[in-house]
């Protein structure tokens, strides 16, 4: 549905519209041009599943998929993505069913506090689509942009490896 989010509280004349396809629905925002994609999602569309861990592109908590590619949403402006397809954690997995990666995170106890987890899952979704990682070592390296202070890395790697195998054998 085409909800129009207001730009309440922005005290600038420079508000401009941008339309994004977010998790399968076109959403129009009216935002200041300096608004990051992360703030656009969290503050204007109410999609708070994407997390702000550092706002400097150093922790990966804000990772989302833009046209299928994983990206730090804090390092890009929403207005740069007119017409783009955005997929956030809220758009991963179907209604009432978990995505295989989410299930793998449960089965492998791949997180604790859950704060970095949306970013880890979006990043891993992108990683699997890239098809670049083959070994646990490669998964570790290619997931190193996503910090986890709870230190769940061994289980995160195991979960991604498992989901990758599932994806390979899927019909």
């Amino acid at each position: 549905m085409g909800t129009e989010a207001s730009a309440a509280g922005v005290f600038s004349a420079a508000v401009r519209p941008v339309t994004l396809s977010v998790n399968g629905a076109d959403r129009e925002l009216r935002i200041a041009p300096w608004t990051t994609l992360l703030d656009g999602l969290r503050e204007y569309l109410g999609l708070t599943g994407t997390k702000k861990g550092c706002d400097h592109g150093q922790c990966g908590a804000c990772t989302v998929l833009v046209d299928g590619v994983r990206i730090n949403s804090c390092l890009t402006l929403a207005v740069m993505h007119e017409g783009a397809t955005i997929r956030t954690i809220e758009g991963i997995g179907a209604e009432g069913a978990l995505h295989p990666l989410q299930q793998a995170f449960i089965d492998h106890d791949a997180f604790q506090c859950g704060y970095c987890t949306p970013g880890q899952i979006c990043s891993a979704t992108g990683l699997i689509a890239e098809g670049r990682a083959r070994t646990p070592e490669e998964i570790r390296e290619l997931m190193s942009g996503n910090l986890c202070r709870c230190g769940a890395y061994p289980n995160i790697v195991a979960a991604i490896e498992h989901a990758m195998r599932v994806a390979e054998t899927a019909p």
Binding site: A8, G9, V10, F11, A32, R42, E43, G46, L47, T48, G49, T50, K51, K52, G53, C54, D55, H56, Q58, C59, A61, T88, I89, E90, I92, G93, L98, Q102, F105, I106, D107, D109, F111, Q112, C113, G114, Y115, C116, T117, P118, I121, E137, I139, R140, E141, M143, S144, G145, N146, L147, C148, R149, C150, G151, A152, Y153, P154, N155, I156, V157
Partner: protein, 776 residues
């Protein structure tokens, strides 16, 4: 029952919500009409403030208010308390200094709060913050704790001479001196336990709402237990009853000790919400989190072990200089003293231990509890010192530990620092670890590494931790109208998976399916008291409370069932969730019984409500212990270190949920390896600026930096609680730093490097190799 059994690796019940982006953390709550607050912080480590002008800031569109220390003073707002009474060696009390919420005319560390701007948006508040003019008169600063004790050091507080907060001791000094006098050998070591930035992935945040008609605040904030906040902010800060505050703790993205405390921003949001009559939210950005969250560790310690001619430990003597930062945080002085020294005897049969701890003010961020809180520091010293002793005596380091360990037959064991260990089988846990690690196969692996030009080292540590925290805990079981069993707990999960373990326990005791049990936490209005989560206390404290409450529920249930089934109470038995008349097939299950009693009361008939609350006294610590074994590969050309093999052989008592225990140990080890190899908190010694103030400068371990961590659980049940559990939350962070550093020194010793402090960064390792006298 079967899907939620005890001792099973039950998958966590919290998970689906958190995996779908449906977690609700403090900053995710966005009430209509909320204002946003931004804190203006000192750019100076030490300065007098000679003027603040806010007029231009107040003109920025959307700005609602700007507050300074003068406003708080006018309104009688108190400062942040330190909760630790302490007596010095000479009988006097520790230094006490104020901790104003906003600067009182001076700033004492970079990041010290000076003003609070409240506006319609964060952007407007930031714009206004930049227009506040503050006149600073800069002063000399000191950041290093040893430097702060020198006679010519700048004083952080003019009234605190020598910057000394306290000079504290524990243990029998005379006996220790006598044992040192008769020792065959004394080994010494001086080590630095580096300051660590806690850096939970979710930064701190606070959302305050004030209801003028009732005079009550609702403060939603990420805590490790809202009761500690409520009990301080009411009486100590706003001078009202604690119950004027309702503290709600939503999902919390990691705490590690740092989210236990009352902070300035809790007060500022509550103050502004009352002044302005609207919800006020503050969310820390990452840069300020580095400057306003309490840090951990930061000790400089000298230790000595006295041994007899057979390599038996006689006595341990330590002197520790502990950096407290510029103010005393809630528990700051407690950490290196009461908390840390209690485990100095560790698993060894020292006849005497004496520790002297000196607390020091510096112009740095305050230091308080971080995962392990004093116990990692003590274990690090002892285990490094034992390796040093082994080297000096020419005794194998495993053998030296073996020779001095307390045996199971000596339990309960009273230590020279006043702890009584209830249980422990240290030799068995050690041997299990050595075998699993393939300690004996090291030479072949070292040869392989050498062929690739790498130095391989192996290290071990045997840690002992004393879990702590509040001395009682409460649980309440309520049978809800929708057929669920609600358990209200006084602990607070920040990612540990408590909910799952509590569901397992409740399901087991009440004989109901785990899917029918809900855990309620984090609201001080619905849960009147709680000890929160800290000191790895939750499962053994809350677990005992749940057991006590469930037992009362069952007793009440027997009375109710005897009425319902028309049988004598003595003839009612309870098993597998069902009350029945002994020797018959007549009975009623607990959920049906509870619902029937509720219905009876509602309809004005007699009934027995099964709902119960109990407070369990938690008067004994638990002493989790274990062996950490690490193998590291050093690149001598670059100084780069890779931890290539890691095994933990752990006695955390009975494991209610091995899956969760392993996850906790992984996390602790990750943080311990982080401290040992990566995490370097650096203040510029002249300006006092935090140079490592971002994730680009401060290296948290990343996925590629850590090995697989193999955790073997050797269960030696705790004798002082009915569950047999020992606290597992901190253990990994206690055992890992010495294991890793001992491994690094094992690798480097062949090149003549015999001492190195954490963190063993490539630059440090490389420099140590360059400076070492080359082995011929």
């Amino acid at each position: 029952m079967t899907t939620f059994g005890l001792a099973q690796p039950v998958r966590r019940v919290e998970d689906p919500r958190l995996l779908k982006g449906e977690g609700r953390y403090t900053d995710d709550i966005q009430p209509a009409g909320q204002l946003r607050g931004v804190v203006v912080r000192s750019p100076y480590a030490a300065a007098r403030i000679t003027g603040i002008r806010t007029e231009e800031a107040l003109k920025v569109p959307g700005v609602a208010a700007v507050y300074t220390g003068a406003d708080l003073k006018t309104d009688g707002i108190g400062g942040l308390p330190c909760l630790v009474p302490m007596t010095n060696r000479d009988g006097s009390h520790r230094a006490n200094v104020p901790h104003p919420v906003l600067a009182d005319g001076a700033v004492r560390h970079v990041g010290d709060p000076v003003a609070f701007v409240v506006a319609e948006t964060v952007e407007a508040a930031r714009d206004a913050a930049e227009l506040i003019e503050i006149d600073y008169d800069g002063l000399s600063a000191v950041t290093d704790p040893e430097a702060a004790l020198k006679a010519d050091a700048p004083l952080v507080w003019p009234d605190v001479s020598g910057n000394q907060v306290f000079d504290w001791e524990i243990g029998d000094r005379a006996k220790t001196e006598a044992l040192f006098a008769q020792a065959a050998r004394v080994t010494k070591l001086r080590i630095v336990n580096n300051r660590v930035v806690v850096a939970s992935m979710e930064a701190r945040a606070a959302l305050a709402e004030y209801d003028a008609s009732s005079g009550r605040w609702t403060l939603s904030t990420n805590t490790q237990g809202g009761w500690l906040l409520k009990d301080q902010i009411g009486p100590e800060v706003f001078h009202v009853e604690a119950d004027k505050f309702r503290v709600i703790t939503p999902d919390v993205g990691g705490g590690f000790g740092m989210k236990l405390f009352l902070y300035a921003e809790h007060v500022l949001t509550c103050y502004a919400a009352r002044k302005l009559g609207r919800p006020v939210k503050w969310t820390s950005d990452r840069s300020e989190a580095f400057l306003c969250d309490t840090h951990g560790r930061d000790n400089v310690t000298e230790g000595e072990i006295a041994t007899d001619a057979d390599g038996r430990f006689l006595a341990l003597r330590t002197r520790n200089i502990a950096n407290m930062g510029a103010y005393l945080s809630n528990f700051g002085p407690y950490i290196p003293t009461f908390a840390g020294t209690g485990v100095l005897a560790s698993v060894y049969g020292f006849q005497s231990v004496y520790a002297n701890v000196v607390g020091v003010f510096t112009n740095t961020v305050p230091v308080d509890a971080y995962r392990g809180a004093g116990r990692p520091e003590s274990n690090y010293l002892v285990e490094r010192l034992i390796d040093e002793t082994a080297r000096a005596l020419g005794i194998d380091r495993v053998e030296l530990r073996r020779r001095n360990m307390v045996l199971p037959t000596q339990m309960p064991h009273q230590t020279p620092v006043g702890k009584t260990y209830d249980s422990g089988d240290f030799l068995r846990v050690l041997d299990a670890g050595l075998a699993r690690f393939d300690w004996a196969g090291f030479d072949a692996r070292r040869a392989q590494a050498a062929a690739r030009g790498k130095l391989l080292g192996r290290g071990l540590s045997y840690y002992l931790e004393a879990t702590g925290g509040a001395p009682s805990e409460r649980a309440e079981i309520r049978f809800a109208d929708d057929g669920f069993v609600d358990v209200y707990v006084g602990t607070q999960s920040t990612g540990q998976g408590h909910e799952t373990a509590y569901v397992q326990l409740t399901a087991d005791r009440l004989g109901v399916d785990g899917s029918r049990v809900r855990i309620r936490q984090g609201d001080t209005d619905t849960i009147p008291v709680g000890g929160g989560t800290g000191g790895a206390r939750s499962l053994y404290s809350e677990g005992q409370a749940i057991l006590a409450t469930a037992a009362t529920v069952i007793e009440k249930g027997k009375r109710a069932a005897s009425e319902m089934l028309e049988a004598a109470p003595a003839d009612i038995a309870f098993a597998a969730g069902r009350f029945s008349i002994v020797g018959t097939d007549r009975g009623v299950d607990i959920l049906t019984l509870a619902a029937e009693q509720h219905r009876a009361i509602r309809e004005g008939r007699e009934g027995t409500i099964l709902d119960t609350a109990e407070v369990a006294k938690v008067d004994a610590h638990t002493f989790p212990n274990g062996c950490h074994l690490a193998e590291v590969e050093v690149d001598p050309d670059t100084g780069h270190i890779e931890v290539v093999r890691y095994v933990v052989s752990d006695d955390v008592g009975k494991a209610i949920n091995p899956l969760i225990v392993r996850g906790q140990v992984h996390g602790g080890v990750a943080q311990g390896i982080g401290q040992a190899v990566f995490e370097h908190t650096v203040f510029d010694p002249d300006s006092g600026q935090l140079l490592s103030g971002s994730f680009m400068d401060y290296a948290l371990p990343r996925a590629g930096d850590l090995p697989d961590i193999d955790v073997d659980l050797v269960e030696v049940p705790c004798a002082t609680n009915p569950l047999g559990v020992k606290g597992a939350g901190e253990a990994g962070a206690v055992g890992s730093p010495p294991a890793v550093m001992n491994a690094i020194l094992d690798a480097l010793s062949s090149r003549g490097v015999l001492q190195l402090d954490m963190p063993a960064t490539p630059a440090r390792v490389w420099e140590a190799l360059q400076a070492a006298p080359r082995a011929a």
